[in-house]
């Protein structure tokens, strides 16, 4: 297992009122993303535990593009990864942002 951590300063706070959301499952080629509204508005943190070693640079690029595109300010993402491909990671992150942006608690 490899632990990765990324911290970004972002333009704007993420929309919605839900405090947390979870998408995906941990399985081969899949991952779960837990997102929590627990940070100051201009910060975004992504914590990753991955079964696939040595993909730090790819993760960095995927997270960088994601933060740039969605500006998920105030959100902390915690990922358990079963060796998912970057496109699956991007999709789950986007799904997590969509879910937490819904109304609710």
């Amino acid at each position: 297992m490899e632990d990765l951590n990324f911290q970004h300063q972002v333009r704007a706070r993420a929309g919605g009122t839900r405090q947390r959301a979870i998408v995906g499952v941990v399985a081969s080629g899949n991952l779960e993303v837990l997102v929590e509204r627990s940070l100051p508005d201009a910060e975004c943190v992504v914590d990753i535990k991955t079964a696939a070693m040595g993909f730090g640079a790819v993760w960095s690029a995927v997270i960088g593009d994601f933060v740039e595109r969605y500006s998920p300010g105030g959100l902390k993402f915690s990922i358990n990864d079963g060796g998912a491909r970057p496109d699956t990671v991007s999709l789950r992150l986007a799904q997590a942002v969509r879910l937490i942006a819904e109304a609710g608690q």
């Binding site: 297992m1 499952v25 941990v26 535990k49």
Partner: protein, 312 residues
């Protein structure tokens, strides 16, 4: 462009969502009254398995099972749903303890039923002793809850089936609903093949696997009382139906179960294949049973009339 799923009613969504394919969370969301679900020790608590790191394996925040409280047609229920895609839905220490705690609470309260959405290959190999023991504790807690008047309904239709100790827990439930892709057994097909050879059981012959362990066979021999079509709404309706049917547990049930199982052994013990059993049940063209659509199959199963009602 695409019709947003939000625009359709929860029941329509539940009707169009395959139980087999859905995640444990989606199953619960659509099975229960909309918005009623409250989770106990949710993923944000990060109570993952403490043992997987020994094997350098990824954890899941909820350890592959979701337990909580919700409403079904307005009435309170406790629910547990296994995620069959995470480690095959297998029982580990934390996973099992969540269900044990839920059943113990149900016992104490006495009046709130429990729904268990099974999706499991059995004991989790990497924590085999803890998983095995968790299953023993669940069986004990389940029977204590039933003895205190709690109805415990099992719903089986996930991709990992209900194998190993999961099959034994299912055997302890007040009643079961099963769908065609759902499977109930103790030993998995590969395990039988590995131990006894491909002549005994060809695990790649999926038609054989399903007619031996699958939902239709389990319904026909009376192991499950309701056959659900593979969608969440049908399982919701099955759960409601079973909650209405189940009576209190007692010694008479165990005696009736002894007779029921002994009778099964007498009637079908010499059969080499499920088709022989179905034929012995008086089903013409028994070999066509796997192809029957749900409505025709349900009519057939009701005509055969084997159930475990009041006998489990």
């Amino acid at each position: 462009m695409t019709a947003p799923l939000k625009d359709i009613s929860p029941a329509e969504r539940a009707r169009s969502t395959s139980f087999y394919e859905a995640s444990a969370r989606t199953r619960l969301e659509l099975l229960l009254d909309a918005g009623s679900f409250v989770e106990f020790i949710g993923p944000e608590q990060r109570e993952a398995s403490p043992h997987l790191k020994i094997f350098d394996l990824p954890e899941q925040f909820d350890d592959g099972i979701i337990v909580g409280h919700g409403r079904l047609d307005g009435s309170p229920v406790f629910v547990a749903a296994q995620e069959g895609r995470f480690m095959g839905g297998a029982f580990g220490e934390v996973h099992g303890a969540k269900l044990t705690g839920l059943l113990r609470a149900a016992r104490q309260i006495g009046s709130i039923p429990v729904l268990i959405l099974f999706d499991t290959g059995g004991v989790r190999l990497q924590e085999a002793n803890a998983g095995e023991l968790a299953i023993a504790e669940i069986m004990r807690a389940l029977m204590e809850a039933r003895s205190a008047g709690v109805k415990v309904i099992g719903l089986i239709g996930g991709r990992s089936g209900c194998y190993g100790g999961g099959g034994l827990i299912a055997g302890c439930c007040s009643a079961l609903a099963v769908s065609e892709p759902g499977r109930i057994a103790v030993s998995g097909p590969e395990v039988i093949e590995t131990n006894r050879g491909v002549e005994e059981f060809d695990s790649r012959d999926r038609a054989l696997v399903w007619r031996t362990m699958g939902g239709k066979h389990r319904r026909l021999i009376g192991a499950a009382d309701v056959f659900a079509d593979d969608n969440v709404q049908d399982f919701r309706e099955a759960a409601l139906e079973l909650l209405g049917l189940v009576g209190p547990f007692g010694l008479d049930r165990l005696r009736a179960e002894q007779r029921r199982l002994a009778d099964r052994l007498r009637s079908f013990g010499g059969c080499g294949d499920a088709v022989d059993i179905w034929t012995a049940e008086g089903i013409a063209h028994a070999e066509a049973v796997p192809e029957l659509p749900a409505d025709q199959f349900i009519a057939l199963a009701n005509r055969i009339g084997r159930t475990s009602r009041d006998a489990r």
